[in-house]
């Protein structure tokens, strides 16, 4: 089972001046849309990808399969860029 976690030095941050959420990492700022933030907010180093998808599906009354796909695409992209380990 895949348990995503942020790599050292990677964290979510509220960018109050620009009214958005960002992912902060060594020498990097990644702007997040609402969907990306909702997914990453659940990444705590203990929840699995499936658990994240199930919980979001319940919260937003959406299809868990679709959310799992969105989440795995996002996390794979962030993993390739060195922000997330899965």
């Amino acid at each position: 089972m895949t348990i995503p976690r942020f790599k050292p030095g990677v964290r979510l941050h509220r960018d109050r001046v620009r009214d958005r959420w960002v992912l902060l990492a060594p020498e990097r700022v990644v702007g997040l849309d609402d969907i990306a933030y909702a997914i990453l907010e659940k990444v705590d180093g203990s929840a699995s990808l499936d658990e994240i998808a199930t919980s979001l599906a319940a919260e937003y009354d959406a299809d868990a399969g679709e959310i799992a796909t969105d989440a795995s695409v996002l996390l794979a992209d962030l993993a390739a860029r060195g922000y997330v380990a899965a």
Binding site: K7, P8, G9, V10, R11, H13, D15, R16, V17, R18, V22, L24, A25, P26, E27, V29, A79, A80, R81, G82
Partner: protein, 360 residues
């Protein structure tokens, strides 16, 4: 002028440094300890920066660990809501001090190595620090801090790009910054000793391209090319007064750490004015902001809002006019001379280093 909100604050906490690297980007006229901003002034600068939109601060120098209040400075930057990068030589750090910095909220350690072996590294840095640097790397990883290896490349170590990448993996780095030296400050004074050949540069491009493919997801690789062999300028600092504020050890706020080279500019001090006022309204930040100041060939160029005209300091140094096109651009009248200079220096026996030290 309607200024964009900055994202980065380069906090030059001190110019004191045990090392004497000949490529240091600090100015030749180093600032003495007695003129440094105190702890509370920096805390205010961090709060003002965060209010202005800054997200990350780069605690740099000199060697920031030369500040005995570094832990307090890190804590105040984090309290202000900033992501904290420590840009360090490693000298002045112990395992205990790193642990205290982590507990104060330090996010990331960027550690410089001068070369891949002790003899060469210590010669380039003018200080026997290689083993301590390896220790600092190990402690950083052990303490769970994000760790970047910084490898400045020049004539004496340019052949070691691949070995730097292997060393980064061995030390447990998540990121490596392989940066060809940029010629400002002490590096400009030492240019003839540091300039690599075109072939040496090209070899590093191949090494990085290969490693990026091979190590995707494992090691983030940032690569800085030298301007002297470029055909297009970089968007220096992301554009003048667009992304970054530099504050010098004595409190002057500047758009770039080398901007003091431009004699026509005067820089306001954070002791006298708020960062917001300096960023938005000061003459120095507005001097080369946007595109209105540009001359031919920058004016009207389709790249004008991509590279923002490149580097003003280099334009002054090589074209004699800070409002000229960056000579790194193939459209600059000084472009040919820049390439010839590089070739001539790279193929002549190197002079001895003029080490970076406080000079009387």
């Amino acid at each position: 002028m309607n200024a964009p909100a900055p994202t980065g604050l380069l906090a030059e906490l001190t110019h004191r440094c045990p090392l004497a690297c000949p490529y240091c980007s600090n100015p030749l006229d180093l600032i003495a300890a007695a003129r440094e901003l105190d702890t509370e002034s920096w805390a205010r600068v961090f709060r003002e920066a965060a209010d202005l939109g800054v997200l990350q601060t780069h605690l740099s120098g000199g060697e920031p660990a030369s500040r005995r209040d570094l832990e307090a400075l890190v804590a105040s930057a984090r309290d202000a809501g900033l992501y904290t990068n420590l840009i360090t030589s490693g000298i002045g750090l112990t395992r205990d001090r790193l642990a205290r910095l982590r507990n104060a909220g330090l996010d990331h350690v960027q550690l410089s190595l001068q070369d891949v072996d002790a003899a060469s590294s210590d010669t380039i840095g003018g200080y026997a620090g290689f083993q301590r640097k390896r220790d600092v790397a190990a402690w950083t990883v052990e303490l769970g801090l994000a760790f970047t290896l910084n490898a400045p490349l020049h004539r004496a170590n340019v052949h070691n790009a691949a070995r730097f990448i292997e060393l980064a993996l061995e030390l447990g780095a998540g990121r490596i910054e392989i940066a060809h030296v940029q010629y400002y400050g002490w590096a400009l004074a030492n240019r003839a000793a540091l300039m690599p050949t075109r072939e040496q540069l090209d070899a590093t491009v191949d090494v990085v391209a290969d490693a990026r493919t091979r190590l995707a997801g494992q090691l983030v690789i940032d690569f800085v090319l030298p301007d002297y062999y470029a055909d297009a300028p970089k968007p220096c600092m992301g554009g003048w007064g667009r992304e970054v504020i530099v504050v010098t050890p004595d409190g002057r706020a500047m758009p770039c750490h080398a901007a003091a080279n431009i004699p026509s500019l005067t820089f306001e001090n954070v002791r006298d004015a708020s960062l917001a006022r300096i960023w938005n309204d000061s003459a120095a930040f507005n001097a080369y902001r946007g595109t209105a100041w540009m001359k031919e060939p920058c004016r009207g160029c389709p790249q004008a809002e991509i590279d923002w005209g490149g580097c003003r300091c280099q334009a002054l140094a090589l074209a004699g006019d800070p409002a000229a096109a960056d000579p790194a651009c193939s459209l600059s009248s000084a472009h040919g001379r820049m390439g010839e200079l590089a070739l001539a220096e790279a193929t002549t026996a190197p002079p001895p280093y003029r080490y970076r030290r406080f000079e009387k």
